[in-house]
C-alpha cells in the first residue's frame, strides 16, 4: 500500500526517547514503587533504561517496559510523574508504529491505538496533540479500520488543518480519501476537500483535493458538483494553467461526449486552454523572471521566493514542451460538440479555424467537410461553396465526395450558377452514373437550366448522357427535363414524346406524376384541348395533395373559360387558392375569374372578386392592377365617380407601403383618366362645333383621309365614336356628304344643326356627362390636399408619391436638398427613381447609390426598369461605359417588356461602341432589328449605327450596305436617313466615286420628307458644290 510508507514517518520520535530519559535521570523519590505489577525487580529508572536500550532496534521488546511504566504511573498525581506518564504514553503509541514498521503486522498498530486515544483524550493542550490525532488515524488506516480511520482524518482536518505541515497534509488527505472509499463514505470526504481547494494551501494539496473531488463527482455522476468544480477551476489561475488539469478536462469532456451529454462536454472543452496558451503564460513569466535575475545577478537582492518560482517555471516549461499537442484535437472536439448542440454558428467558425490553422492535420478532410456543411447550415453560403469546391478539387479527399458534390450542386442551382453546375454534374455523372444520387444531380442541373431559360443546353446535353449510360440511375430524371425543355421551347410534340417515353419506361419513377401532368400541358400547347382536359381531369382524380394540383385547376379553369363554361371555370379557379397554389397562380385565378365575370356583365361579382383579392393579399404587387380593373369597370359602366372613388381608396389603402410601386400606377391613372375625360369633353365639343359649323373643315374630315387621320392624331382625346361615324360605311356619312361640298372654299359654306344629327348629339352629351361626373377638384388640387394630409399624418411614403406626381405633372417645385436620407429611405421605388433623376445633376454619386439600392431591393419592380435605365445613362455620363452597358443589358434581360427596353437596347450598343467593343455593339443593335414590334425610328437608328460600327472596324462594304439600307428603308425618318446619306456619300467620296455620292445626295433631296431633316441644308450644299 502506497500510504503505508508515508504514515511510518513518526512524528517527533527522535526527540522523545531523550525526553523520557531526561525526566527519569534525576535521582528523585520514586513514589510509585508500590504500583509494581511486572518487572518487580526493576525500578522506574531501570525500566526507562530498558526502554531506551530496546526502543530503537527492537520496539516490540520495549513495549512491556513502557506498559509497566504506564501502569506504575497511572495514578500518579504529581506534575513531574504526570509529565513522565504523558511522554511514556506518547512513546507507546510510537513504539507500536515502529514495531509495525519492522513486522508489517497491522495488529501491532491497532494495539497502539488505545494509547493514542488516551493521549488524545488526556492531553489536549499538548503541542503534539495534532500529531497524536494523525498517528491514531494513520494506525487505524494501516490496520484497515476504515471507518475509524475516516473518523480520525475528518477530526484531524476539521480541527488541525492549519497546524499540519504541508507535506503531511497531502499524505493525510490521500489516506483520508482512500479510507473514505474503503468505508463507503466518500461523500463525507468532500467537505474537507473543498476546504483544501483554497489558495492558502499549498498547490499540491489543492491539486490533490481538486482531482479527488473530480474523481468523486464523476464516479457519482454528480454533475452539480462537477460544474462547481469547473467554476472553481475557472476562478483559480493555478488550476487554469495547469496542464494536468487541462488534460483532465479534455478527457472528461470526451467521456461526456461519448455519453451524448453535450452541454457538459461543451463546457469542459471550452474550459480547456490550448497547450500553446499555457506555454505562453509560463514563458512570459519565465522571461520576466530571467530578466530580473540577470539584472540583479550582482546585487544579491534576489529573493528566495522568486528564485523558487524561477525553478518551478523552468520545470513547468519542460513539462509543457513535452506534453501531448492536443490543441487541434481540442478544437475539433469543441466544434463537434457545438455542432451537436445545434450551436451551428459557433461550430462553423470552429471548423473554419481548424481548416485554417491545421492544414496538415490527419483529419483535415473531416475539418473541410464539416466547415462546408456547417457553412451551409448557418447560411454562409459563399464560404461554404469555397469549402466545397476546395474539397472536390483535392484528389486525396474521397470520404465525403458524393455528399459534397450533391450539396454543392444544390447551392449552384440555388444561385443559378449553371456553368459551374454543368461542369460539376458532367463530372459527377461520369464518375457515378449508376449511383442513385446521380438522378438528383441531373435534377439540379435540369431545374437550374430551365429556370435560366437555357433549354437548348438541356436538349443538347441530356440526350448525350442518356445515350452514354442507358442504364444510368439518372435516365428518368434526364428524360423528364428533356421533356420540360421541349415544353418550354414550344416544341410540344417532342415534349409529349419525351413524357410518354418516360411514363412507358419508368412507371416507378419519382417523376411519374409530374410527367403525367406535363403531358396535359403539352396537349394544351398543341391546341389539343380535349386531350388536355382529359389528362388534367384524370390526373386530378388520383393526385390529391400533389403540389401541381393548383396548376391543374388553373389549366382546367382556362379550358373552361375557352369553352364558355363560366361556372365550371370559376369553380376551378377557386380551387387554386383552396389547394394552396403559389401567389402567381392565385393571382391568375382571381384575375381570370374577374375577367370572366366582367365579360358576362356580372359587375357586382367582378368587384366582389377583386375586393376579396385585395383583402386577402394586400401585399401583392397586383393590388394596384385590381384597383385599376375595378376603376376601369366602373368607367365602362359610366360610373365615373365610383371609378375615382376606387382610385382614392387604393391610394389611401396602399399608398404608404413603400415596398410596392403599383400605387404610383394608380395615382398616374387617376391623373390620366381625369385629363382624358376633361380633354375628351373639350375636344369632342370643339370638333362637333367645327364640323357642323364649317363646311370646309367638314369637307376635309369627310373627303381627305390623311387630313382626318392627322387631326385625330393631334386631338387624341376626341371621342372615338366620332371616328366611327365618319367612316364611309356609316349611314351618317352619306347624310353629311350630301350637305358638304368637297370643293368648298377654305372658309364659309353651310352650317349644320346638331339637332339634325342625334348620333353626334349623343356623343357630345356622353362626353359632357362624363365630365360632369368627375370629382369637382382637379387632380392637382386633390393630390396637393392629400400630400398635406399625408405629411401631417407622418405618411412619408405616400407624401413622396404625391409630390412626385405633382412635380412631374403639375410642375410643383422641389429642391434636391429636401430629400434627406431618411426621407429617401421611406420612398416607394417609383419615387426613388424620380428623386434620383432630380438629384443626379448635382450629386450623381448619391443618385447612383439610391438607384443601386433600389435595383438590389426590388429588382423585379416596374420602377427597377427605369432605375436600371437611369443608371445606364448616369454611368455613360461618367464615361463608365462598361457599367452602363451592363445596366442596359439588365433592362433587356430582366424587363424586356418595359418601355425602356428599346432605348436601352440602343444605348447598350452605344456604350459598347464607346468601349470599343464594336462587334458586341453590332450584336446589340442587331437585337433591336430582331424585334418586329419595335419597328419604327429605332430600327433606323440601329441600322445606321451598325453602319457606323462597321465603318469603325474599316469593313467599308458592310458599312456602306447598312447606310444605304438606312436611307432607303427608313426615309420616313429624315434625321437618320439624312445622316446615312452623308455617311454613305463620304465613303463613296473617299473611294473616288463622286458621281455616286452626288446621286445619293440627290436621292435624299428628292424625298418628300427631306426638308424635315436637320441635315437637309448640309446635303444640299454638298450637292451644289461637288
Amino acid at each position: 500500500m502506497m500510504v503505508k510508507g508515508q504514515l511510518l514517518r513518526f512524528r517527533c520520535a527522535a526527540v522523545l526517547g531523550v525526553l523520557i530519559l531526561c525526566f527519569l535521570a534525576p535521582t528523585r523519590t520514586l513514589r510509585a514503587e508500590a504500583q509494581v505489577e511486572n518487572f518487580p525487580d526493576l525500578t522506574l529508572q531501570d525500566l526507562a533504561a530498558q526502554v531506551d536500550i530496546r526502543y530503537g532496534p527492537q520496539p516490540a521488546e520495549a513495549i512491556p517496559y513502557m506498559v509497566e511504566i504506564k501502569t506504575r504511573l497511572t495514578n500518579a498525581m504529581s506534575e513531574e510523574y504526570r509529565g513522565i506518564y504523558r511522554e511514556n504514553l506518547y512513546r507507546l503509541g510510537l513504539a507500536h508504529m515502529r514495531w509495525f514498521e519492522q513486522s508489517g503486522e497491522k495488529e501491532t498498530l491497532l494495539e497502539g491505538v488505545p494509547y493514542w486515544e488516551e493521549f488524545i483524550a488526556e492531553f489536549l493542550s499538548d503541542k503534539r496533540h495534532p500529531l497524536a490525532v494523525m498517528n491514531r488515524a494513520d494506525s487505524l488506516f494501516a490496520g484497515e479500520q476504515w471507518d475509524a480511520a475516516m473518523e480520525g482524518y475528518l477530526y484531524t482536518t476539521k480541527v488541525y488543518h492549519a497546524q499540519i505541515k504541508e507535506n503531511d497534509l497531502l499524505g493525510l488527505l490521500q489516506r483520508m480519501v482512500h479510507a473514505a472509499r474503503e468505508s463507503g463514505r466518500i461523500g463525507e470526504a468532500n467537505e474537507p476537500l473543498w476546504k483544501f481547494l483554497q489558495g492558502s494551501y499549498s498547490y499540491p494539496v489543492r491539486l490533490f483535493s481538486l482531482n479527488s473531488l473530480f474523481d468523486q463527482s464523476l464516479e457519482a455522476d454528480n454533475i452539480t458538483e462537477l460544474l462547481q468544480l469547473v467554476t472553481a477551476i475557472n476562478a483559480d489561475r493555478d488550476f487554469r494553467y495547469d496542464i494536468g488539469v487541462n488534460l483532465r478536462l479534455l478527457h472528461t469532456g470526451d467521456k461526456f461526449e461519448d455519453e451524448e451529454r453535450y452541454l457538459e462536454a461543451g463546457l469542459l472543452f471550452s474550459m480547456v486552454l490550448p497547450v500553446e496558451q499555457l506555454l505562453k503564460v509560463v514563458e512570459d513569466r519565465l522571461i520576466e523572471l530571467e530578466e530580473w535575475a540577470f539584472r540583479n545577478r550582482s546585487s544579491g537582492d534576489a529573493s528566495k521566493a522568486q528564485l523558487t518560482e524561477l525553478v518551478t517555471l523552468r520545470e513547468q516549461r519542460l513539462e509543457l514542451v513535452a506534453a501531448p499537442k492536443y490543441t487541434a484535437n481540442l478544437r475539433w472536439r469543441q466544434a463537434r460538440v457545438l455542432e451537436l448542440m445545434e450551436r451551428k454558428y459557433e461550430a462553423y467558425f470552429g471548423f473554419q479555424r481548424l481548416v485554417n490553422n491545421y492544414p496538415q492535420h490527419r483529419h483535415i478532410e473531416q475539418f473541410r467537410y464539416a466547415a462546408f456543411t456547417q457553412g451551409i447550415e448557418c447560411g454562409n453560403l459563399s464560404e461554404a461553396i469555397e469549402h466545397g469546391e476546395y474539397y472536390l478539387a483535392e484528389p486525396s479527399y474521397l470520404l465525403f465526395e458524393k455528399p459534397v458534390a450533391m450539396r454543392l450542386a444544390s447551392l449552384y442551382a440555388r444561385f443559378e450558377a449553371v456553368d459551374k453546375l454543368s461542369v460539376l454534374a458532367d463530372d459527377f455523372l461520369h464518375r457515378f452514373p449508376f449511383e442513385p444520387v446521380a438522378a438528383q444531380m441531373s435534377h439540379y442541373l435540369g431545374q437550374a437550366l430551365l429556370k435560366k431559360g437555357m433549354v437548348e443546353r438541356i436538349i443538347e446535353d441530356f440526350p448525350l448522357w442518356v445515350a452514354e449510360y442507358p442504364d444510368g440511375a439518372f435516365i428518368d430524371s434526364a428524360s423528364y427535363w428533356i421533356g420540360m425543355a421541349y415544353l418550354f421551347s414550344g416544341d410540344f410534340e417532342s415534349a409529349l414524346g419525351a413524357f410518354n417515353t418516360l411514363l412507358a419506361n419508368y412507371p416507378g419513377s419519382v417523376y411519374f406524376k409530374e410527367a403525367s401532368f406535363r403531358r396535359g400541358v403539352a396537349h394544351f400547347g398543341l391546341g389539343q384541348y380535349a386531350e388536355a382536359r382529359e389528362v388534367f381531369e384524370s390526373w386530378l382524380s388520383d393526385s390529391s395533395g400533389h403540389p401541381l394540383v393548383p396548376e391543374a385547376h388553373v389549366f382546367l379553369g382556362d379550358l373552361d373559360a375557352m369553352d364558355a363554361r363560366v361556372e365550371s371555370a370559376l369553380m376551378n379557379y377557386r380551387q387554386v387558392e383552396i389547394h394552396g397554389g403559389a401567389l402567381a397562380l392565385i393571382e391568375h385565378a382571381y384575375f381570370e375569374s374577374a375577367a370572366l365575370l366582367l365579360a358576362n356583365k356580372r359587375h357586382a361579382e367582378h368587384d366582389a372578386m377583386l375586393e376579396e383579392f385585395l383583402n386577402k393579399y394586400p401585399k401583392s404587387a397586383s393590388c394596384a392592377e385590381a384597383i385599376l380593373r375595378m376603376a376601369e369597370a366602373a368607367l365602362d359602366q359610366g360610373l365615373v365617380l365610383e371609378a375615382f372613388a376606387r382610385f382614392r381608396s387604393g391610394i389611401e389603402r396602399f399608398g404608404n407601403d413603400s415596398k410596392s410601386d403599383d400605387v404610383d400606377v394608380v395615382i398616374d391613372s387617376w391623373w390620366e383618366q381625369d385629363s382624358t375625360i376633361r380633354a375628351g369633353a373639350a375636344e369632342t365639343a370643339a370638333f362637333i362645333k367645327a364640323f357642323l359649323g364649317e363646311e370646309s373643315f367638314r369637307a376635309r374630315m369627310l373627303y381627305d383621309r390623311i387630313a382626318q387621320i392627322h387631326h385625330f392624331q393631334q386631338h387624341g382625346a376626341i371621342d372615338p365614336g366620332i371616328k366611327e361615324l365618319l367612316t364611309v360605311r356609316h349611314p351618317l356619312y352619306a347624310e353629311l356628304a350630301a350637305c358638304t361640298d368637297a370643293a368648298v372654299a377654305a372658309t364659309g359654306g353651310r352650317s349644320l344643326s346638331l339637332e339634325d344629327y342625334p348620333e353626334l348629339g349623343e356623343l357630345l352629351a356622353g362626353s359632357q356627362a362624363r365630365l360632369a361626373k368627375l370629382p369637382p377638384e382637379k387632380p392637382a388640387q386633390v393630390f396637393r390636399a392629400m400630400y398635406v394630409a399625408a405629411l401631417e399624418a407622418g405618411q412619408e411614403t405616400l407624401a413622396l408619391r404625391l409630390l412626385r406626381v405633382l412635380n412631374q405633372r403639375d410642375g410643383e417645385a422641389v429642391e434636391a436638398k429636401q430629400f434627406t436620407t431618411d426621407w429617401v429611405e421611406s420612398a416607394s421605388p417609383a419615387s426613388k427613381v424620380w428623386i434620383a433623376r432630380l438629384i443626379a445633376e448635382d450629386d450623381a454619386d448619391r443618385a447612383i447609390t439610391i438607384l443601386v439600392q433600389l435595383i438590389t431591393e426590388v429588382p423585379d419592380s416596374a420602377a427597377a426598369a427605369e432605375g436600371l435605365f437611369l443608371l445606364g445613362e448616369l454611368e455613360s455620363q461618367r464615361n463608365n461605359h462598361e457599367a452602363a452597358q451592363a445596366y442596359h443589358n439588365r433592362v433587356l434581360e430582366e424587363h424586356f417588356t418595359s418601355i425602356y427596353a428599346r432605348q436601352s437596347a440602343i444605348l447598350r450598343g452605344d456604350a459598347l461602341r464607346q468601349s470599343e467593343r464594336l462587334q458586341d455593339a453590332v450584336e446589340a443593335y442587331a437585337l433591336v432589328l430582331n424585334q418586329r414590334e419595335w419597328r419604327g425610328e429605332v430600327w433606323a437608328e440601329a441600322t445606321f449605327k451598325m453602319g457606323d460600327c462597321f465603318a469603325q472596324m474599316e469593313d467599308l462594304a458592310k458599312a456602306q450596305g447598312f447606310y444605304e439600307r438606312t436611307y432607303l428603308a427608313f426615309s420616313a425618318y429624315p434625321d437618320w436617313s439624312g445622316r446615312a446619306v452623308l455617311a454613305s456619300a463620304d465613303l463613296l467620296e473617299a473611294l473616288g466615286e463622286s458621281n455616286s455620292a452626288q446621286r445619293t445626295y440627290q436621292y435624299f433631296l428628292d424625298l418628300p420628307t427631306s426638308k424635315d431633316s436637320p441635315y437637309y441644308d448640309a446635303i444640299r450644299r454638298k450637292r451644289l458644290t461637288p
Partner: protein, 362 residues
C-alpha cells in the same frame, strides 16, 4: 563648506558650483543621500533650478550650493534616498498593521514636503514609496479633501507611473466613498494631463479597465478616449474599449463614428474577439441578427476563455440564438455562461432569462 565641494567634484561628471548667498529656492530643505555605485554622499536638498538639483552640505548653511543635472544623475545611476526619521518608519509599520489614523501624523510631516519635488520621482530611490505611503495613509483615514487638493496640485505629466496608479486607486476609493466632487476633480486632472508617456498611458488604460469593470462607463470612456488619442502601443485597445463603453453609454452617434474609425484587426491578432463583440452588440441593437450572430460566433471562436469579455460574448451569443429562434441553442449558451462565470453580471442576466423561460413553459 569647501571640503564638501572638493569631495564631490571628482565623482560628478558635471558639477556646477556656485557660492551664493541666496536663500531657499521655494521648497523645503530636505536631507538626502546620493548613492553612487561605489560611494554615498549625505547632503541637503535645497531646491530645483531648471534641470538641476540644488544641494548644500549638511550643517549650517553658509550659502554654498552644488548643482547637479538630472541627466547626469541618471547617467551615473545615482540613487536618491530621502533621509527619513524613525518616526516615519514607525508610521509605516502602523500603516501596514492597518492603523492609518495613527500612521498619518508620523508619515505626513516627512512625506508632504517631498511633493514639492515630484520631478525627482523618476530617479531611483525612496521617493515613490514614501509618497505612496503618504497617499495610502490619507486614503485610509478618508482625508479626501486633503488628498484631492494635493493631487490636483501635482504636475501630472511629471507623476511617475506607480504614483499615477496610486492616484487612480484614489479615484476608485473616492467612488466607493461616494465623494463625487473630489472624484470628479481628480478625474478631470488626469484627463487634462498632456503628452503622457507610454507607461503613464498604460496606467490610465488600466484605470479605465477598473472603471469599466465597476460599470462606470463614462469615466472609463474618458480615459480610454484619452489614451486612444496618443500614439502608443495601447492606442488600438483603448479605441476598442472606448467603443465598447460608448455602446453602454448609448451615445449612438459618437459610437457610430468611433466604430467607423476602429481599426481592422486580423483574426489571429490580439483583441480580434473584442472587436467582434463590439460589432455584434452594435448589430444586435440594430436588430441585424444574422450579421450580429456571425460577428459574435467568430469572436467567440477566436477568444480565449480567460479573456475578460468572454462571458459577455457568450451571453451575447445566447441572446442572438434567442433572436434567431433557436431556443435550445440559446438555453445551452445561457447555461454555459451561468455555470462557467457564475460571479459575472452576464451569468446573472443569463440566469434571469433561463428563469423567465422556465416560468413561461407550461
Amino acid at each position: 563648506m569647501q571640503p564638501f565641494l572638493i569631495k564631490m567634484i571628482p565623482r560628478l561628471c558635471v558639477l556646477a558650483l556656485a557660492l551664493s548667498s541666496a536663500g531657499p529656492l521655494g521648497a523645503a530643505e530636505l536631507p538626502v543621500e546620493l548613492r553612487y555605485p561605489m560611494q554615498t554622499d549625505s547632503v541637503i536638498l535645497t531646491g530645483l533650478e531648471g534641470s538641476s538639483l540644488v544641494f548644500r552640505p549638511k550643517g549650517a548653511d553658509f550659502g554654498g550650493r552644488a548643482y547637479l543635472d538630472f541627466s547626469t544623475l541618471e547617467k551615473e545611476r545615482v540613487m536618491l534616498n530621502f533621509l527619513l526619521s524613525d518616526k516615519f518608519y514607525e508610521g509605516l509599520k502602523k500603516l501596514k498593521n492597518g492603523q492609518p489614523l495613527q500612521a498619518l501624523p508620523l508619515i505626513e510631516p516627512e512625506a508632504r514636503p517631498m511633493l514639492n519635488y515630484i520631478e525627482l520621482s523618476h530617479l531611483p530611490g525612496n521617493y515613490v514609496s514614501t509618497v505612496q505611503a503618504y497617499f495610502e495613509a490619507l486614503r485610509g483615514t478618508g482625508n479626501w479633501k486633503r488628498l484631492t487638493t494635493l493631487i490636483a496640485a501635482l504636475p501630472m505629466r511629471e507623476v511617475p507611473p506607480p504614483l499615477l496608479d496610486e492616484i487612480g486607486q484614489t479615484t476608485l476609493s473616492l467612488h466607493r466613498a461616494q465623494a463625487a466632487t473630489d472624484l470628479e476633480k481628480i478625474h478631470r486632472t488626469l484627463l487634462a494631463m498632456d503628452s503622457a508617456g507610454p507607461a503613464q498611458l498604460e496606467v490610465l488604460l488600466s484605470l479605465g479597465d477598473s472603471w469599466r469593470e465597476v460599470g462606470e462607463y463614462q469615466k472609463a470612456f474618458d480615459l480610454y478616449h484619452k489614451v486612444s488619442m496618443e500614439k502608443s502601443a495601447h492606442q488600438v485597445v483603448a479605441n476598442l474599449w472606448a467603443a465598447y463603453c460608448g455602446f453602454y453609454l448609448e451615445d449612438s452617434k459618437s459610437l457610430q463614428s468611433i466604430l467607423q474609425d476602429l481599426p481592422k484587426i486580423q483574426i489571429n491578432e490580439a483583441y480580434f474577439s473584442l472587436r467582434e463583440l463590439i460589432d455584434a452588440r452594435w448589430k444586435l441593437r440594430q436588430a441585424e441578427y444574422p450579421p450580429a450572430m456571425l460577428a459574435a460566433a467568430r469572436g467567440k471562436t477566436y477568444a480565449a476563455v480567460t479573456d475578460p469579455w468572454y462571458p459577455e460574448l457568450l451571453h451575447t451569443l445566447a441572446l442572438l440564438y434567442e433572436k434567431m429562434e433557436m431556443p435550445d441553442a440559446a438555453t445551452l449558451a445561457h447555461q454555459e455562461v451561468s455555470i462557467m462565470f457564475p460571479a459575472s453580471q452576464w451569468a446573472s442576466k443569463s440566469l434571469e432569462i433561463i428563469h423567465h423561460q422556465n416560468n413561461k413553459t407550461p
